[in-house]
């Protein structure tokens, strides 16, 4: 099971507390994790990436294993510790404003 850490506002929207656990089939990538997340929690569609283009929303970042994976290709494999469920895939609201 993949562990995904959501920003507080998206946890509220999805009606969950803490990290969520999702099943991902095949290679664990940004795309496959987000596909599985949106299938399990349809109310999150459009809040992390665009409905049509699937591009990441500008003020969100993807972190895992102390690395910023935001600009990695969406089909690149995520670190083994994420794939094994040891470390969470973190969706972070960027600090913007002041």
């Amino acid at each position: 099971m993949i562990q995904v850490a959501l920003p507080a506002h998206l946890r509220t929207l999805a009606g969950v507390s803490g990290d969520v656990s999702i099943e991902v089939s095949g290679t664990v990538t940004q795309r496959s994790v987000l596909d599985a997340l949106e299938e399990r929690y349809p109310m999150l569609r459009g809040t992390i990436r665009d409905h049509v283009t699937k591009e990441r929303r500008a003020f969100l970042r993807f972190f895992a294993c102390q690395e910023d994976l935001t600009h990695e290709p969406p089909d690149a494999p995520l670190p083994q510790d994420v794939a094994s469920g040891k470390e969470p895939f973190m969706i972070i609201g960027a600090i913007a404003g002041g």
Binding site: P7, H9, L13, M43, R45, G46, T47, H51, R57
Partner: protein
């Protein structure tokens, strides 16, 4: 005994204020959707317990919320665990995708950007929700970048009425300071095929065929900030109001100028009269007196606060031109708030109640048509919108 429910959208959530018909003692519920901007909350005339809310965020985009119990509980329609055959979500309430199909004519893909170049349409948020008079599952959404969408399944899915964007003048539309937003939608109870909308900064438009085709209705408007002050489109209309008993008569607060039309928008004339400034955002009509209208003059387009440090609602009982300041109960010194375009509403009790919210977080109510005012709440986040439901 009648009751009143005031639906307030703010920069950091929604609030619901309730009172009996005396409108003296108020209960406050909220914040709902804490931390999100709530541009608009509006109830269905066909089923007052059905309420729609536009919840939006620069980080997470657009969410549509729906209540079926008068705002006690909320859901994202179609966004829960409802699955259609095949395992896909049954609906996507926040999916606003512009229609670019060949079958709907020639949808435009660009509008004028701040620097005069053409810029592609990009969905940002829903500014206004207008539920149908007859069907609680049907509602319209006015969005930024400017377009109108409709749902007929209670908000699960939304489809653009692309004839508006495809009207042909789209390349001349441009964003105002708040973005290129479709902020006003007025349905005509006597003519289901007729809808009025207004866009900053494009102007007002009308359809007489249920949204298939649209025409600009801006003749008589004069705007010095565009190259041709009397152009067919390009005007920064801030809000339009109509009395349901006289659907041919429209009142408009333009960027500058308060205007009136007696022919369903085909022509306009100025009715600013003796207002201290005719810049402003809100305009509304008394529930029982179609010639009684309300505005809140704002000092200027670069000073978005009330004139002279005094919060004054101006009322005209003559359909414009002759205005009186209403100050009883409102701060008359050191007041520098704004009242945004969707932040005034009227109830239908006798006497008519008037409500408005400020960027300082106050929601004021008058239970006597504006003669006197009291704050319902004083310290909410900046108020974006105010709507009222009169419940029997």
């Amino acid at each position: 005994m009648s009751t009143v429910r005031v639906l307030v959208g703010t920069r950091k959530g929604a609030f619901i204020l309730t009172s009996d018909g005396k409108r003296r003692n108020w209960g406050v519920s909220g914040p709902h959707f804490t931390g999100w901007e709530v541009y608009h909350v509006k109830g269905s005339p066909a089923d007052p317990n059905r309420i729609y809310a536009s919840q939006t965020s620069g980080w997470f985009g657009q969410i549509i919320q729906r209540s079926s119990d008068g705002g006690k509980t909320w859901e994202t329609p179609g966004g829960g665990m409802q699955m259609a055959p095949g395992g896909m979500p049954a609906g996507e309430s926040n999916k606003f995708v512009y229609d670019t199909s060949a079958g709907s004519g020639k949808p435009l893909t660009t509008h004028q950007w701040y620097d005069g170049t053409q810029h592609p349409w990009e969905f940002k948020r829903v500014w206004h929700l207008e539920p149908s008079f007859t069907d609680p599952d049907t509602a319209y959404a006015g969005v930024e970048d400017a377009a109108i969408f409709r749902t007929t399944d209670g908000g699960k899915s939304w489809h653009e009425l692309s004839g508006l964007r495809g009207h042909g003048t789209g390349p001349k539309w441009q964003p105002g300071a708040g973005g290129m937003c479709l902020h006003t939608i007025i349905l005509d109870r006597t003519n289901p095929k007729r809808i009025y909308i207004a866009i900053s900064a494009a102007g007002a438009f009308r359809t007489d065929d249920g949204g298939e085709t649209w025409k600009p209705i801006n003749r008589g408007l004069r705007s010095q900030y565009i190259p041709d002050p009397t152009a067919e489109v390009g005007h920064c209309v801030h809000h339009v109001a109509m009395h349901p008993a006289r659907p041919e008569v429209l009142y408009m607060q333009k960027h500058w100028d308060v205007m009136r039309s007696d022919d369903a928008g085909d022509s306009w004339r100025e009715i600013s009269g003796n207002l201290p400034t005719d810049f402003g955002f809100v305009i509304d009509v008394h529930a029982h007196e179609p010639e009684t209208i309300y505005v809140v003059p704002i000092k200027s387009d670069s000073e978005h606060f009330v004139h002279d440090g005094r919060l004054r609602v101006y009322r005209s009982r003559t359909g414009g031109n002759e205005w009186e300041p209403l100050t009883n109960g409102l701060p008359q010194e050191n007041c520098y708030v704004n009242v945004l375009r969707d932040a005034m509403a009227v109830d239908s009790l006798d006497k008519c109640g008037i409500y408005f919210g400020t960027t300082g977080g106050q929601v004021y109510a008058s239970a006597d048509s504006g003669d006197s005012w009291d704050p319902i709440v004083r310290d909410l986040p900046a108020v974006l919108s105010v709507e009222v439901q009169t419940l029997q």
